[in-house]
Amino acid sequence: MAIARASEPVLTPEPVLRVERVGMTFTAGTREVVALQDIDLEVAPGELVCLLGPSGCGKSTLLNAIAGFTPPTSGTLLVSGRPITGPGPDRAMVFQEYALFPWMTVEANVAFGLELQGVPARAIGERVGGLLRQLGLSEFRDRFPKELSGGMRQRVAIARVLAIDPPILLMDEPFGALDALTRRNLQDELIRIWSDLRKTILFVTHGIEEAIYLADRVVVMTYRPGRVKRVLAVRLPRPRDTASPEFNALKREVSALVMEEQQRHEQAERGATAG
């Protein structure tokens, strides 16, 4: 199978992304909220890592920090050894809300990043055409995002970041708003793209099955303050069978970890309303 890949740790793991003792504190009114605390994480080139946890665990906060939107309050973030100072096309983001530009056609959305880089029009046309074909979007090239379904919009968003060929893809619950069948479809598509293009992917989700289905490694995070609770390597061959005993054993293990945090989350909410 072309999709099956060696899931063994890479032999020379020079990390493309390094998160060192990263902390993030917000002030909400008079209260200080510690969103992230002492996060350490290394991601090897070509690795697909899922950040998993209940809402409020800071997984999206960490992703936004890596994207360069909100710098962490402590610790360092390094991409290929260089510190992150702001957003950049080497770490392209796919948002849950798609974030397509509604005033641009599908084609213009995908071409946008290349135009910013000053790529000649002809090369843009070829590249965009190829990507639209690859993602099954050719017949929608002149449509506006509003005219597309959620799944199609997310395909456009993926094509838009692939166009600029970033070494790292950051995905913030990209399939969270989609129905189950569309989601599975896009997950398979993502795996196909990832194995073809050898991208490094950091994928945020609260879906336990989604994380195990996709990831080389699942990073389970704790509820507030967000910390790394456990890192689990998923060594199942792809495409993964969600009904297999191995898959379900892993799912049970990860579920137990996530549920502990979910309960802490609910207790904290009850405490907040009672107080």
Binding site: P89, M93, F95, F112, F144, E147
Partner: protein, 271 residues
């Protein structure tokens, strides 16, 4: 088809009855023609007002001859002033609004001054504008641009403030610098608001042009109906008013179509 004809008939019923009664009253001599002329008289006057004053003699082009009547001259004069004044006002308001909406410092610098001037109706600037610019087009353009300025400015600021932050993030993530961000993200994202401002602004400009022509300019539709009053030509006054109404309607319909085309991306699957 039947239903549409029935609807059309219903919508014409009341105006039809009003016109018939009006015509009957005026012809029966119940109202003096100088106060309220018969509708037929108004239409006749409107037609005379529209026609070229001299027969075609070949000294000009046929088109120039066709629009040499008082009405076409007044109308194009008024509309040109609206367009010119609006463009001046909007060309200042748009960039200023974009900057004020995006950059706190610019807002703090210009905001208070503009908030003090904004509540003054542009018409209240007539005496001052005549002192500054004299008579003719300059004071009119000043007043019209002032009238168009604030609606465009206020809506542009609101539009920029309401741009969803996720578009800015996405654009920066793809490598956009601040200039590109303005041109290709913030401006189009704010366009629905800006176009609302443009529509209101051009409406205000149209009001102001009529008033300006009644005071500072001795041409145009506003001037013409005031002039007609001095001769007690009520039929010409009403003909002029109808023309003003038709121009306003035309501007509004044109703006509506332009909006629909520029904002065609807002329509979704249902549209």
């Amino acid at each position: 088809m039947h239903a549409r004809i029935a609807r059309l008939a219903r919508s014409l019923l009341v105006p039809g009855i009003v016109l018939v009664i009006w015509e009957a009253l005026a012809r029966g001599g119940a109202i003096a023609p100088a106060i309220l002329p018969a509708p037929s008289q108004v239409v006749l006057r409107w037609w005379q007002y529209l026609l070229p004053p001299l027969p075609f003699d070949g000294s000009t082009s046929r088109l120039a001859w066709l629009v040499s009547g008082e009405l076409p001259q007044d109308t194009t004069g008024s509309l040109t002033r609206v367009l010119g004044g609006f463009l001046i006002g909007a060309c200042v308001a748009l960039p200023l609004g974009l900057l004020m909406g995006r950059i706190r410092l610019v807002h703090d610098l210009f905001g208070p001054v503009l908030e003090v001037i904004r509540p003054i109706p542009p018409i209240a600037f007539i005496p001052l504008s005549m002192l500054w610019f004299g008579l003719g087009n300059p004071p009119a353009l000043f007043l019209i641009s002032l009238g168009a300025f604030f609606p465009v400015l206020v809506n542009t600021i609101a539009g920029v403030r309401n741009v969803d932050a996720i578009y800015v993030r996405a654009a920066k993530n793809l490598g956009a610098d601040e200039a590109t961000l303005f041109r290709r993200v913030i401006f189009p994202a704010a366009l629905p608001y800006i176009l609302t401002g443009v529509r209101v602004g051009i409406g205000v400009a149209f009001i102001v042009v009529i008033v300006a022509e009644m005071t500072a300019v001795n041409r145009g539709l506003g001037y013409r109906i005031l002039e007609a009053r001095e001769f007690m030509w009520s039929d010409k006054i009403i003909a002029g008013m109808i023309t003003i109404g038709l121009c306003g309607l035309g501007i509004d319909l044109g703006m509506d179509r332009l909006n629909r085309w520029l904002l065609r991306w807002q329509r979704g699957l249902e549209g």
